[in-house]
Amino acid sequence: MTISMHRDFSRRAVLKGGTLTVAFALSGERVMAQAAAPRILDPKEVDAFLAVNADDTVTVFCGKVDLGQGLRIAIRQMAAEELDIGVAKITYVEGDTALTPDQGRTSGSSGIARGGVQIRQAAATARKALIELAAQHLGARPNDLVTRDGHVVPKSGGSGIRFSQLIGNGRFDLKLDPKAPLKSPAEYRVVGKPLPRPDVPAKCTGSHRYVHDVRVPGMLHARVIRPPAIGARLLSVDESSVSGLGAKVARVQNLLAVVADDEWTAVRAARQLRAQWNEWAGLPAQEGLADALRSARDITDETLVKKGAPGAALPEGAKALKATYFWPMHSHASLGPSCAVADVRRDGATIWTASQGTHGNRATFARFLSLPPEKVRLIYVEGAGCYGMNGHEDAAADAAIISRAVGRPVRVQWSREDEHGWDPKGPAQLLDIAGAVADGRIVDWRTEMWLPQTTRGMPNIPLLAPEAAGLDEVRGLNAGMISQNGDPPYAADNVEVLVHWLKQTPLRPAPLRSPGKPANCFGVESFVDELAAAAGLDPVEFRLRGLADPRGVEVIKRMAARMNWQPRPSPGPDKDAAVARGRGMAYVHYKHDESYVATGIEVAVERASRTIRAERVACAHDCGQIINPDGVRAQVEGCILQTLSRVLKEEVKFDRSRVTSVDWASYPILTFSEAPRIDIELIDRPAERPIGAGEATCTTIGAALANAIFDAAAIRLRAVPFTPERVAAAWEKSS
């Protein structure tokens, strides 16, 4: 039978919802008394972030989530440092809309920079309050007391008083005090140490619970059947095609699913179900994508940067160049297809999701479920790595709508084809850059870029299921803050950055790790190299001539030292060899305001096979204060390897109806044999603010590799990915 959605669906026995969900949220953690009490969730309040428990542990409630980037330890370190307790004394709750404050989406390298900093200030405020409470208890002056190992003790020595005696299980009832003094870095005992991540042992022994592993009583397994063409409508379903399997069909307008008690039965039913869809072929041709961006009519122009008189007459002897750079659509290509569990009832909904923005999605889910937001609870459970927004939220919306339709808790597991085909994509980007160099410096620079415009007031990326089911949601585009770093970070007399904002994209866009900026920096730092070559200058020297920021200068110099960089103009002497080797670099001051990164790559270009092998990557990285150096190092390694994969191999392929790169054969990623050696130098600046390490390095990889290839083989690759076909074409052009 088809179960149609209706508002008055059948009731079922009430699960022990609250107890159950709290147990999930605190999986592997101590369940403390506070979980049962109403939580303060206002992020202005200390109690939203911290609770001192009767057993002298402290619970940290974090609205940002750990996707494998190490917040679970780093934020514990920040809180432990200010509170003077051991990290082992901290229990940790993340991303549960019923238990944690809204700290914004976990995106833009903001986990530490904003989420952690907020919790640090809450902890500092709490410490100040604990000292004041202790002063009353002990009849001492606050200035004569300090915190030590979960106690407030007199500076002069003697016995103190435990935190739990001062406030155990009670509330602070205090606003975050921006003036509460932070510890001086000189006093740090926990921050700055490479403490191990607490989830690692469970991830290596199989006991870590992913969203894919969540099971709730009465749960059905569902598979969603996506249309064969992106915009196709469902015409008819032959339910008898799966009736023999013990699966049922659930349909809400164009949202089509099968449900079964057993997961494999659902998989078989999804494969076997016969459905008729209408035809749709609304995508542009793949090979004309760059032209389609350039010729889009519905655009808004915006000048992002204007300095001097760009495009004016050039000084005598200036060398002028122009070039076009293209970056294709990329998939998040999460290793595990998205999954979620939802239990939607007439009076409320609980959704277990790996979303990076549980809080931000609450209103979205409430809207399409026609429930008050306070009746919708999203609980974060880690999924397969996601680098912006993959299909996690879509799977959650699938599960929610199907759960409501069938009146049971539902687990939706996407297939590999679903994930590659339907995750929202990092958008295609096109940059035209014109510029000129004279006397070894940049005299003129003009960037024109074609980018999707984020629709004003978009709460989230529009989700597939509400649209298919004809439910209410805000429509539009959101690809993140994608227009930054389109200008060179070096002295230039005249600069203009013009963006043509596109109102449409072929496929649904989403932020993908350092949104837009890997492409922008690929263009900018490749073009800088082209100017350096035109000027006959060494690429490092050329950049340093135009760079005044001492932190920028330092990362470039340190990278060059790690690379054993031999100054000379590119291309190098090896360009006619059977295997041409060379080196290239790129530098970024991320968003002109955040981390400083310089990356050098040694490359081998093999003439016979036209293949490119990154052999070694050296990176100097300054993200201000380092909370956990091993965590930063892991993030930088990830940025390097993931972006190398994107630049060397990845491009979303599509025909006029659908994405055709829907598995790891048609959308290959970097393998072990292709992974380079990596050499990372972290610069710690404890007196500076911590500014995030999850993204910046990604932006340097495309240009560093392209510049190394030019140095090695005298060919300039201006379109990603650097496939053997593109290498061959570039060779042909240069000879």
Partner: protein, 154 residues
């Protein structure tokens, strides 16, 4: 329904299935052994890797019928937090996983490699793991951990 007799992590189990083609992955996960992950269902990514008779296989490509008569070892059975396999211990020491979704499969592939060749070269380690994909970019640490587990660490 047919009954299939499996030996999983040293324990004999009888499992009912209406489908002889049911992949071992779904059998294991249905039994609560969730360390093997669904990554592609196509044998392309390695997230579902288990040992079958000591050899690394993709459990999404191994049918319940084919899994009989041979011992099956999952990550849960390879070692535990109190009695770890050297590869697991090395992965923890090197702090390998980020999201960790691929990690279990890599540990299984590496354990199979080291059982076959105690001291593989770095190139052999990479080649043995080429069928295991990682999206977070932990490759560098994985190789270091496997070399360390084979007593060749720096």
């Amino acid at each position: 329904m047919s009954t299939y007799n499996l030996r999983i992590n040293g324990i004999a189990r009888s499992v009912e299935s209406a489908d002889a083609e049911k992949p071992l992955l779904y059998v294991l996960r249905g039994l609560g052994l969730t360390a093997a992950k669904f990554g592609c269902g196509l044998g392309q990514c390695g997230a579902c890797t288990v040992l079958l008779g000591g050899r690394a296989v993709r459990s999404c490509q191994t049918t319940i019928a084919d899994a009989q008569q041979k011992s099956i070892t999952t990550l849960e059975g390879l070692g535990s937090t109190s009695a770890m396999h050297p590869v697991q211990a090395a992965f923890i020491k090197e702090q390998v996983p980020q999201c960790g979704y691929c990690t279990g499969g890599m540990i299984m592939s590496a354990a199979a490699l080291l059982a076959e060749k105690a001291k593989p070269s770095e190139q052999e380690v990479r080649a043995a793991l080429d069928g295991n994909l990682c999206r977070c970019g932990t490759h560098f640490r994985v190789v270091r951990a496997v070399m360390a587990a084979s007593g060749q660490g720096g």
